[in-house]
Amino acid sequence: VIVGASLAGLRAAQTLRARGFDGQLTVVGDELHMPYDRPPLSKQLLAGRVRPADCALRLDDLEAEWVLGRRAIGLDLERRTVVCAGPVEYGFDGLILATGSSARPWRGVSLPARRNVFFLRTLDDSLALVDAIRTARKVVILGAGFIGCETASTLRGIGCNVELVDVAPYPMSPLGADVGAVCTELHAEHGVGLHLGVSVQAFEAHDDRIAGVRLTDGSQLPADLLLVAIGAEPNTRWLHGSGLTLDPGIVCDETCEAKGGPDVFCAGDVASFPSSFANGELVRVEHWTNAVEQALVAAGNLLALPDKRVAYDPVPSFWSDQYGIKIQSVGFPARADKHVLLEGDLADRKFVMGFISDGMLVGAVGFASPRRMLWFRRQIAERAMVEQVALQN
């Protein structure tokens, strides 16, 4: 049984079949859609350049039973069953947990439930937003993380007025102050109103809508539409009391096997796994590529004998498209103690910034530099010291 019918769940299912598993395979998902790709939700789909059908992930000739629109509500490790709403039970010999994450709810000053308040996580969220921006002109985005920034870029491209708000002093704050400064310039050049280092004082509701947002610096932002983009939280609440260890991700070992759950493996946004790039501490990686890479390893290990299991110790990567620039990040920039420009020029918006911890390159962020980012990612994987990288460079 695989719980989670998105990218990680699909890649796990495909891997099980590719490795010769010919038993019964059930994939359970709480959304009604067959697996689809999320990156277009804040880009091409939102801009109206592709249709929902174009976001479908290729299934090829995968043989599996799809149970869609059904939420998992409990796991009984002793009886080896997943309990879904209904209730319906699914027994398993092996289990892969890939339930992903949800948009983090707003927990700041009181935000009344109104029909022009949006989150962006699912296909339905994106379609609702597409519908709303037909008439909305003034958009306020709370959160200048990667979804907030990307959405700001897309909405500017189709002519919306965008105000971007974050408590951090610069956008994409895990990427550091210098990359943040470039992001600030980019948004400003493209006409986004930036409100950084401030938070929300109050929301102003009018009838069934949020009409405006008052910030702690006194500014007043009129809003036709409010998008809350303040991160994601792993979907693990249904596992409370199951015996698995939650942090709130599902704690697993280096083979992706859940602590406290033999034959239970996890992949994607929900998995907290030890990383050698973080001194063996647990990390959780909410990136597209991690959903794939971890699903491949988790599914392979589920089928393998215990002594044939392989360790999962990735150099994570993610990308974002903003104002026509491909922004890439590899490794663990947020864990670095300093950063240094490795090549290029910030002013050209074509550069690679290196992130260093104890003299070792642990991360890199690149603007418009895919070939070089591939090279630096290999250096990180090989645990290169930064002096070495500079020499070879």
């Binding site: 590719a18 990156p39 590529t289 794939v292 890479e293 530099s369 591939l374 990612r377």
Partner: protein
Amino acid sequence: MKVKVDLEICESHGECGFVAPDVFELNDDDVLVWNPDPDESLKDKVLQAAAVCPTQAITVEI
């Protein structure tokens, strides 16, 4: 094994070049170059490269 890449949809993320460096590489213009007929011994890595492609641009015929 035959490897095809649709360069119309490839966005040069470089994921394939990370997992299968012997088969996929980005050139000086950030365009993907690849070996269309790699050795059978590279099968697992090539399949992994296809799985991690963010634009589903890689197809593998075995």
